[in-house]
């Protein structure tokens, strides 16, 4: 390595990074991969993943995708488990605040790019928005077939019988399909795709979404995409159709009955409480409720 690139005693100032950290050449490489992914919905496209200053498995794929599509006029929202305030979401948000200097928000409505881990916001996405999923294991066939060579062949030849064998086994053993998250979907009638570890509650939101959905897996160096208004069907049997989770109780904070709830152990006796996993949606709902109450009072 040439000497001027080493960190020597007399040269320790913080390096100046390109907009959104990645250099433009890397971004172009990523954009080519993303365009290919958009052109072939649900197909995993390999890309030359870079080493990021965060650990693999902590959102490096999503971060690279976000960095590649980000412009100066974008507004970024980052959530983990539906919440803007979980530590990794905070960490990724502050990373982009530092290296891209773009405005950040917690509001789903205001955001143009939403990077997420494990949830889709409750508030419906609109046209023009892009949701970027962080993906740990992009290969939906991996649990049935450990070999990458073999799974790529299976995708290429549309050989998906084995996915249904897994669903069959669940029903035979449990009476229902015992997959509650990372529930495999068929995209555009062609590719079986892992929706990243979303709870299956969110699967129906992927179907015909007006927003562009991008998926980045940093460690496995794959991107894939669901373009706006694309069919996304959860795999099932005709006589055992796909269904989603429901709760008997409303959210303890906002009273919502149609959102995904997290269970919280509230005291030593093990009392359980249920609250919305999407903190922004929950807060907004609570505010509008209070406004209405305030309005009727005054």
């Amino acid at each position: 390595m040439p000497a001027e690139n080493s960190i020597s005693e007399n040269q320790r100032e913080t390096p100046v990074y390109n907009f959104a950290y990645l250099d433009e050449q890397t971004k172009r490489m990523l954009r080519r991969a993303i365009l290919k992914a958009v052109a072939v919905p649900g197909c995993q496209v390999p890309f030359g993943g870079r080493e990021m200053p965060m650990p693999y498995g902590w959102g490096t794929g999503g971060i690279q995708v976000s960095a590649a599509i980000m412009g100066k006029n974008d507004v970024l929202k980052v959530i983990d488990q539906g919440s803007d305030d979980t530590t990794n979401a905070v960490s990724i948000r502050s990373f982009f605040k530092r290296v891209a200097g773009i405005p950040v928000t917690t509001s789903t409505r205001e955001a143009t790019i939403i990077q997420t881990r494990h949830r889709i916001p409750e508030h419906p996405l609109r046209e023009g928005q892009i949701i970027v999923y962080q993906v740990p294991v992009p290969e939906p066939l991996r649990w049935m077939e450990p070999s990458e060579k073999e799974t790529r062949t299976m995708h290429a030849l549309e050989e998906y019988g084995v996915m249904h064998v897994k669903l069959y086994e669940d029903i035979a053993r449990h009476g229902e399909i015992a997959a509650s998250y990372d529930y495999p979907v068929m995209v555009g009638g062609r590719y079986v795709m892992s929706p990243s570890p979303l709870p299956k509650f969110d699967n129906p939101r992927m179907h015909q979404s007006p927003a562009l959905q991008l998926f980045g897996a940093g460690r496995e160096k794959r991107v894939y995409a669901v373009p706006p208004y694309t069919d996304v069907r959860s795999l099932d049997f005709e006589d055992h159709p796909f269904s989603v989770q429901r709760w008997d109780k409303p959210c303890e904070i906002c009273g919502s009955t149609d959102t995904y709830l997290d269970e919280i152990i509230a005291d030593d006796k093990g009392t359980r409480l249920y609250v919305c996993s999407d903190t922004d949606h929950c807060a907004a709902r609570l505010a509008s409720k209070e406004n209405r109450q305030g309005g009727s009072d005054g």
Partner: protein, 375 residues
């Protein structure tokens, strides 16, 4: 009423402050300087340079200090820094034949032109803790030096010597490796695609975790895909790095680096119309990294099993297994990502397990009723 926890940002800032405090340790003990790490923990520096894929002793020393001595974390710091560096191009292939050798051993011949050179090795030390090192102000002991007596200055032989394996090549017993003239692949720019050619495999192994490669190499010796290796030659010393700028068209020496190279000679009994001959496993590390270089050579040879028409039986012969699992930055990140919140998925699993248990209880109750009903 429960209020969702806020304050992630504050918690993170706190953690960083605590980390800085722990890194410094007891303030009454002098702070370690990166120069001390560079000079006195040089094997740690070498490992971080190798697995971090960046030859720079000061950067590696800084990374080790910042990582509190956690070498895998230091490798990660170096890698993350490395990706931000501009690229001028690729260096010319290293000419290790022209290495200024400081250590060189061959297990295949008693004597070879150039001789055997032990160099600075742990090999024949008795692993007895030396209380003298616990203090400070110790000058290194010299050969023949006993209590009070003066010894000789240690001789470090330095020289050029021919490759041991070249003698086998000349006899036609070992295929010569030739440069196909193709630009080698670059794993840090292109994703790994299988099956991977040897250039990519060697690059992956050179970046791979020393512990992982050591275990894989060991597994081949214990029978999980044996390749019958001999340590043909291990050499360590300095080689020049040359770069040919496009606008000049001739090579310019840009520096000198220390590397350790290991070439194994492996039995190959022939077959597929090919007469019996030897084959070669290859390992190379930055700095002094003999354990890693030898492990790498054994695993490299194992990964050639398929192209040599040998049965692929052991994990070390399985490209996909080795190449996808030997990178410690990838592995460490993914194993440790389990501490990130997973409560949304766990909630989904909770609901599912509860519903399955309800169904099971209902079935059991129905069964016991029907059993009682029947005579």
């Amino acid at each position: 009423m429960y209020v969702a926890v806020k304050g992630g940002e504050k918690a993170i800032a706190n953690a960083h402050a605590l980390l800085a405090e722990k890194r410094r340790g007891d303030l009454s003990v002098p702070e370690v300087e990166t120069a001390q790490i560079r000079e006195q923990l040089s094997l740690a520096v070498d490992r971080v340079m190798s697995e971090g894929s960046l030859y720079d002793r000061d950067t590696a020393a800084l990374a080790i200090k910042q990582a509190r001595g956690d070498l895998v974390e230091a490798v990660f710091l170096v890698r993350a820094y490395r990706t931000t560096l501009p690229r001028f191009g690729s260096a010319d292939p290293l000419d290790t034949e022209n290495m200024r050798v400081r250590r060189r051993v061959s297990a295949t011949y008693k004597d070879v032109p150039g001789g055997q050179m032990l160099g600075p090795t742990f090999d024949y030390t008795h692993r007895l803790l030396d209380p003298a090192l616990a203090g400070s102000g110790n000058a290194p002991r010299r050969p023949g030096e006993e209590a009070g007596e003066a010894g000789e200055t240690p001789v470090e032989a330095v020289g050029l010597c021919p490759k041991v394996l070249s003698f086998l090549e000349k006899e036609g017993l070992l295929p010569e490796e030739s440069d196909k003239g193709e630009a080698p692949g670059d794993l840090t720019r292109q994703p790994l695609q299988l099956p991977a050619d040897r250039d990519i495999r060697l690059q992956s192994l050179a970046r791979g975790d020393e512990g992982m490669l050591l275990a894989l190499a060991y597994s081949t010796q214990r029978g999980f895909g044996s390749t019958h290796p001999f340590a043909g030659e291990i050499r360590m010393g300095e080689v020049e790095v040359a770069f040919t700028p496009e606008e000049l068209g001739f090579p310019v020496i840009v520096g000198e680096i220390t590397v350790t190279e290991c070439e194994t000679v492996n039995k190959f009994t022939g077959g597929g119309g090919v007469p019996a001959a030897f084959t070669r496993g290859y390992g190379l590390t930055f700095g002094e990294g003999e354990r890693k270089a030898m492990s790498m050579a054994l695993v490299d040879r194992s990964l050639r099993s398929e192209e040599l028409g040998e049965a692929v039986k052991g994990p070390a012969q399985d490209q996909e297994f080795v190449l996808y699992h030997s990178d410690n930055v990838e592995a460490s990140g993914f194993v440790q990502h389990l501490k990130l919140p997973h409560y949304v998925d766990f909630q989904a699993e909770l609901e599912l397990v509860r519903s399955l248990r309800r169904a099971h209880a209902a079935n059991a109750a129905r069964d016991s009723i029907s059993r009682r009903a029947s005579p």
